[in-house]
Amino acid sequence: MKYKSQKIAEYFYTFAVLLFLVQVVVGIIAALQFIWPDFFPLKFNIIRDLHINALVVWLLMGLMGATYFVVPEEAQSELWSLPLAYFQFWATVVTVTLVVLGYIWMGFNPHANKFVFGTLLLNEGREYIEAPRWADILIVVSVLLFLLNNFMTMYKSKRWTGIQGTLLGGLTFLALMYLPGMFYTKSMVKDQFWWWWVVHLWVEGAWEVIAGALLAFMLLKVTNAPRHVLERWMYIEVALVLFTGILGTGHHYYWIGTPKYWLWIGGIFSSLEPVPLLVMVWDAFRTTRVHRVVTNRLGLFYAVAHAVFNFVGAGLWGVIHTVPMANKWTHGTQITTAHGHLAFYGAYVLLVISMIYITLPLIRERTDFRTSRGYTSFWVMTISMIFIVLSLTGAGMVQTYMERLVGLDYVTVKANYNLVFWIVRAISGVGFLVGVLIFVVDYFKLGHEPAEVGAKSNVSVTTHAA
């Protein structure tokens, strides 16, 4: 660690890792509720709200932590204000805790979710952005403080690099795209229209831009690839992300009451969205092959896996149902869930974990650390996730066929034909939890125990030409 203030990243990582654990535990509860709806005191909606909110929040915390590391590194200076960063961290933890307690309270007493000054007190009842308005405002303040701190660091040091510029650009876009979800509309059609600005322009816009910048940063840190080449490809990737992703929002405007021209716009642009993701895969492999000096093999392994599964989960599992002819039948089925899981896992879970494995050893000042648990948790999580996604894809195909094509009742299909898939999903979920537990243990132990020696060393310098 070159700058003392980079230590703040670890606070964010720790909170992120703990929330990841919570997310997956409640995910298993949700999966079991598909089989036994009544087995848990909190009903499915509350469990699901916790599952997806924990997901979004821990990924954001991870990305913030990563940014607090990257910006001083790139600007070559301490953070503008470390106390402000600590304040922002604790304020966010308190807000998130209050929101979670609110959901649980509402779970036991739905009437506690009252209208106060025209907005709901505990839960807004809109997927992903369930957090009530007062929490939205606190979150916006927190994110503004975060952006301010990083921009000031960059501004004061006068060292502007492409990586940090793109990273902060993506983060600013992210902050702005939270705002369209913060007002009430009487029309459910408009409600969903603006809601997709938040959800889609986050995961297929702002977050992918951040992923592009962080991928360049990671490759820069762990290989000896030259910066100008990495930054050039980064610009190409993030440019293609936004050129396709902004109008690609149209793939959510086919059937919600919006005009027909969105079928064309959404169909064409969203079909092109996998292209930048494929460029990222190519970029990661090319850099690894050409530049043989690797200072953190585990970190590089995760970064490459992130690029690959970003392409598979978001790109491939996205494109199969993105054209209107297919989406007409699969819209709102388990196909969507299958895609949601693999996309979030590949694109963002692996991104945050790879940033952790690349920056945490530097923070703890142990570049040659014990890596075997890191590899094990990767394989356990990834194989379990593949089983989760295959079972959901199976369930989605059966559901699309039985319910949408043959016309059977939703409940019949869910309770009978798809039962076997729910069982496989729940079992794979437990497998996934095992992987997460290994990762969490590794997170806390990393750098505090001796590294393996010899061939297993995490640092490798291969001299032969590529």
Binding site: N45, G162, Y253, P259
Partner: protein, 221 residues
Amino acid sequence: MSNRGVRNLFIFGSLFFFVIFIGLTVDTMKKLDKRAPEITEEVDQGKKLWHKYDCIGCHTILGNGSYFAPDLTKITVNKPEGYLEKFLVNPRKVKPSAAMPVLGISPEEAKKIIAFLKWISKVDTNGWPPKPVLATYRMPRSPGVTVFQKYGCTACHMINGVGGTSGPDLTHVASRKPDRQWHIKHIRDPQSVVPDSAMPGFPQMSEQELNQLVDYLLTLK
């Protein structure tokens, strides 16, 4: 191209696409109100209740939301209003196998939620959800079957694996209820024989239709 060149391409290209997107958004906003009925006070209150009870935490609407429970876009077209009112207040009282919990929705609130759902069902969704194209199963042809379909009984009742699950399965109904008079009374006014039934009555059915329908039901042994 230099790095500066690609950077500018990224920034200005993205702004270009965002401006187009905003233009399309403005155009869409102008068109939306014509594609949906007017929003009355009751519909708006229903929408607020929809948020309050976090219905989206289990259901989809317009295909977006959670996939734990059925999509509700066309629910008011497929299920009778009286049934829905009772169901919302206490799901298991009208459908013992229901997975939905009692949320504490009052009968007045249920009416508002239904008004909201009726509004949703009339939104022009470019033909979504599509009609099932492979609905190949044919019921035996008889006048009674025609009546059964005409009055939408399949929305709630299943026969030989086809149909809804809101009401009881009728595949073997004649074994349970062999009495012709019982059926006639029940269809005209369900509450007269099953006091808190959630099934709507069919006083509008002609005498002939009623007889044909009961003939058919009595074959289901």
